[in-house]
Amino acid sequence: MALIKQGRVLQDRWQTAETATEALKPGAYFVSLELWQAERELLRGKTAIGITLPNDTDPEVLAPDLDRIAAVALRFPAFTDGRGFSQARTLREHLGFRGEIRAEGPLIPDQHQFLLRCGVDAVVVDDAADTGPWLAAARRYRSVYQPAADDRIPAYRGRHTAPQAIAS
C-alpha cells in the first residue's frame, strides 16, 4: 500500500502484527486495539506501535496510552461513514495526540482536505491508485469557514484579525 502524507506519496513502512510474541522483530507495527490492551507490556519494547481503532470506538479509550503509541489508524468502512472525522478531531483536539493519524478504507480524493482538516495526516491508498486527484484536492480550498484540528483561521475570525496577529 502507498501512503499519502505531507503532499507526497510514500511507501508504507508499517507492518501489521496479528499476535504479540517475543520474536517480533524491531520495527513499526500496527496492532488491533484488543491486542494492545491484552499485550501492552510485551508490545512496548518494539520501536513503534500503532493502534487500529474501529470506527465505533470512542478514542478516549486510548487516553492512558497516547504517550506510548506512535500512530493511530482509523478504519473507514465506506467513504460515506464519517465517524472517523470526529474520531480524528477528538484525538487531536481533546486528547492532544501528536503522532500519526492515518485513514484507511475506500475513501475518495475529494475527502482529502476534510481529512487533513480533522487531523488525519496520512491516507492509505492502493499502490495502483491515481494519486494526482488526492494531491490536488488537498490544497484546493484556500479559505475555511470553521475551525478544526488544523491551525487554519476560520473566516469569522480572520476577517477581524490583523494579518500579523494571525501569524503570531
Binding site: 467513504f79 464519517g82 472525522f85 474520531q87 478531531r89 476534510f114 482538516r117 469557514y145 475551525p147 476577517r159
Partner: protein, 551 residues
C-alpha cells in the same frame, strides 16, 4: 442583504471549478456513474426518473431581485422555462443537461448563489421565517443567525458525511412560520430574564416514516456560543447516530432512543470542552453580519394608509386578496405581500421564467429589491407600502400570480411525486391539481378559512403530509395508487403529527373524501373556529363517521 466578501466568493468559485473538472471526468468516461454519484450529490445534482434535477440553494429563503432574474434566466436558457420552489425554500430545475450544469453553477456564482449541500448526508440549506425582518412579532432577525450557520456548515470537514441528511431551521418570532419542530435542529431566538439575546435549541424533529416532534435540548444558548453548541450537537450525532439502517439514521431516532435528557447530557459534556475555544463567535463578526441585514430605508408613516382601506372597500377582488395574502408589517403603513404559487389547477411551487422576472421587477419597484421564498412553496415581497398594494395586485394579476389563497385550502403543499421522483409510490401533482380545481371557488375557499392540506407521494414525506391539518400520503397497493388521509397535523409552534383517519382511498375517492372532511368541519364549526380548532374540540369521530359511516 448579505453580500459576499472575498472569502465567500473564493469558496464558491473554487467549488464551481472543482465541479467543472468532475463533470468533465464523468463525460469523458474517466469516472463511472457510481464514482460520480457522491460528487454530483455534493452539488445538488440528482438523477431523477427522466433526467437530472438540479437543486439550487436559496439560503434561508432570501433572494434579491438580481438573483431572481438569474433564476429566471437559468430556467429559460438551461431548462424548460420554469423552476420549482421547494418546501426547503430552494429552487429545483427538472431538465438540466449534465454537461451544462457547471455553467449553471458559474452563472449562479455571479449572483452569489450556489447548489452546495443541497443534497447528500450533510448539513443542508438552513431555512428561516420568510417574514424575517418584516414581522411584527420578531425578537431578532433569523437571517443573521442563518447566515452565520450557513458559513459554519459549508464544507464542514467533520460533518459532511453524517449518518443522514441534516436540516436546521431558525425562527425569531413567537409564531413559528419555519416549522422548526419538525427539523433535525430547530432554533428559536429568545431573550432570557436578563434581556440577553440567545437561542432555544430543539432537536430530533422530523417527518418521514417515523414522524417526531423535536424535543427541547437547551433553553438558552448565548449568541457567542451558537456555533460551539451546534458543533457539540452534531458531534454527538455523527458519532452515535445509527448507520445500520437508513430509515433509523436521522437524529430523531438517536434522540428518541437515548432520550432527550441523555442526548442533552452528552451534548453538554462535549460542549464544555469546546465552548471557550475558537468556536466562540467574535462580536465583530456578529455585528458585521447584523449590519448586512439592516432595515431598508423605510418611509415614516403615522398609521395605516387611508387610500389602501378605500381600495379594499371599493374592489372586492382586491379585498379578498388582501384578506388572505397580505400580512401585517412591523412598520406602520407597510405590509407583507404573499404571492401564491398555487393557481387553481396549477402545480404547487412552479413558476415560469416570465413570472420570476415579473416578481423581480415588482420587488425592485415596491419591495426594496427583496423577495423571499416560503417553505409553503410561495413567494413573498416583504416590505410593500400599503399605498402600493393595489398597484402590485393589478400587476400580479397580469402574470397570473394573484391567486388569493395563502393559508387556505387551495394553498396545497405537494412534493413532485411519481411524475418526477424515483422514490415516490404515487403521483402528488395530479391529485393536488384535482383538489385545487374542486376547491376552485374562491368565495367558498375564503368561507372555509385557514386550513393546511399537504400531499406526499411516499413516506419520505417531502410534501410534509404529517403536519398538514389534512395530510395525504400516496401508497402503493399492488401496483395501484392509493392515498391515506391523516387529520390534525400542524407545523406551527404547537406542532403535532396528524393521525390516520381510516382506510386509504383511490385518487378519485380522495378528492371526495377531502370534500366530506371540509363539509363536516363547516357543519361542526363554531364562530371563528379554524378547521384545526374544531378538530381539536370534536376529535376525529365526526370526521370518521362522515367518511366511513358509523361502525
Amino acid at each position: 442583504m448579505y453580500a459576499y466578501d472575498a472569502i465567500d466568493r473564493e469558496l464558491v468559485e473554487t467549488r464551481v471549478a472543482e465541479f467543472r473538472e468532475q463533470v468533465a471526468r464523468r463525460v469523458s468516461g474517466e469516472l463511472t456513474e457510481e464514482q460520480f454519484r457522491p460528487l454530483r450529490l455534493m452539488n445538488g445534482l440528482y438523477l431523477q426518473l427522466h433526467a437530472y434535477m438540479l437543486r439550487v440553494a436559496v439560503p434561508y429563503g432570501v433572494l434579491s431581485s438580481a438573483q431572481m432574474r438569474k433564476l429566471a434566466h437559468i430556467a429559460r436558457r438551461y431548462d424548460r422555462g420554469y423552476g420549482h420552489f421547494t418546501t426547503r425554500q430552494n429552487i429545483q430545475y427538472n431538465w438540466p443537461k449534465l454537461e451544462e450544469t457547471p455553467d449553471i453553477l458559474a452563472e449562479l456564482a455571479e449572483v452569489e448563489m450556489h447548489a452546495i449541500q443541497t443534497s447528500g448526508n450533510c448539513i443542508r440549506n438552513t431555512t428561516a421565517d420568510q417574514f424575517a425582518g418584516a414581522a411584527a412579532d420578531e425578537v431578532d432577525d433569523p437571517r443573521i443567525w442563518s447566515e452565520i450557520i450557513r458559513q459554519w456548515s459549508t464544507f464542514h470537514p467533520e460533518f459532511s458525511f453524517l449518518p443522514r441528511k441534516f436540516k436546521i431551521a431558525v425562527t425569531g418570532a413567537q409564531k413559528d412560520r419555519a416549522a422548526i419542530k419538525v427539523h433535525d435542529i430547530g432554533i428559536v431566538i429568545v431573550r432570557n430574564d436578563a434581556g440577553e439575546l440567545g437561542f432555544q435549541m430543539w432537536a430530533g424533529g422530523g417527518q418521514g416514516r417515523t414522524p417526531m416532534i423535536a424535543k427541547l435540548i437547551r433553553g438558552f444558548v448565548a449568541e457567542r456560543d451558537l456555533l460551539s453548541y451546534l458543533e457539540a450537537m452534531l458531534r454527538v450525532y455523527n458519532r452515535h447516530g445509527r448507520r445500520d439502517n437508513k430509515y433509523k439514521a436521522r437524529i430523531k431516532i438517536l434522540v428518541h432512543e437515548l432520550g432527550a435528557d441523555e442526548y442533552a447530557r452528552q451534548v453538554e459534556a462535549e460542549w464544555a470542552r469546546i465552548r471557550e475555544g475558537v468556536l466562540s463567535l467574535p462580536q465583530a463578526e456578529i455585528d458585521r453580519i447584523r449590519a448586512a441585514f439592516d432595515e431598508p430605508p423605510f418611509e415614516r408613516f403615522e398609521g395605516d394608509s387611508r387610500a389602501f382601506h378605500g381600495k379594499r372597500f371599493e374592489d372586492r377582488g382586491f379585498q379578498r386578496w388582501v384578506r388572505s395574502n397580505v400580512k401585517p408589517h412591523k412598520k406602520p403603513g407597510y405590509a407583507i405581500a404573499n404571492i401564491s404559487l398555487k393557481p387553481v389547477g396549477g402545480i404547487p411551487g412552479d413558476a415560469t421564467a416570465d413570472q420570476m422576472d415579473a416578481v423581480a421587477d415588482f420587488a425592485d419597484r415596491w419591495s426594496f429589491g427583496e423577495v423571499r421564498v416560503a417553505h409553503e412553496q410561495n413567494l413573498v415581497l416583504p416590505h410593500v407600502r400599503q399605498d402600493d398594494l393595489y398597484g402590485l395586485w393589478l400587476a400580479l394579476g397580469a402574470v397570473d400570480l394573484d391567486t388569493p389563497n395563502i393559508g387556505l385550502l387551495g394553498d396545497i403543499i405537494a412534493c413532485p411525486g411519481l411524475d418526477y421522483c424515483s422514490l415516490a409510490n404515487a403521483r402528488s401533482i395530479p391529485l393536488s391539481q384535482a383538489l385545487s380545481e374542486r376547491f376552485g371557488d374562491l368565495d367558498r375557499l375564503h368561507d372555509i378559512g385557514e386550513i393546511s392540506l399537504n400531499i406526499s407521494g411516499c413516506i419520505n414525506a417531502c410534501g410534509h403530509h404529517h403536519v398538514g391539518n389534512i395530510g395525504i400520503l400516496g401508497v402503493d397497493k399492488k401496483g395501484e395508487e392509493f392515498y391515506q388521509i391523516t387529520l390534525g397535523g400542524r407545523a406551527d409552534e404547537d406542532a403535532a403529527v396528524g393521525r390516520i383517519v381510516g382506510r386509504a382511498f383511490d385518487a378519485h375517492e380522495t378528492v371526495d373524501a377531502v370534500e366530506t372532511i371540509v363539509e363536516t368541519y363547516v357543519a361542526q364549526r363554531r364562530d371563528g373556529e379554524r378547521f384545526i380548532d374544531t378538530l381539536e374540540r370534536t376529535g376525529p369521530a365526526p370526521f370518521k363517521e362522515a367518511l366511513y359511516g358509523a361502525d
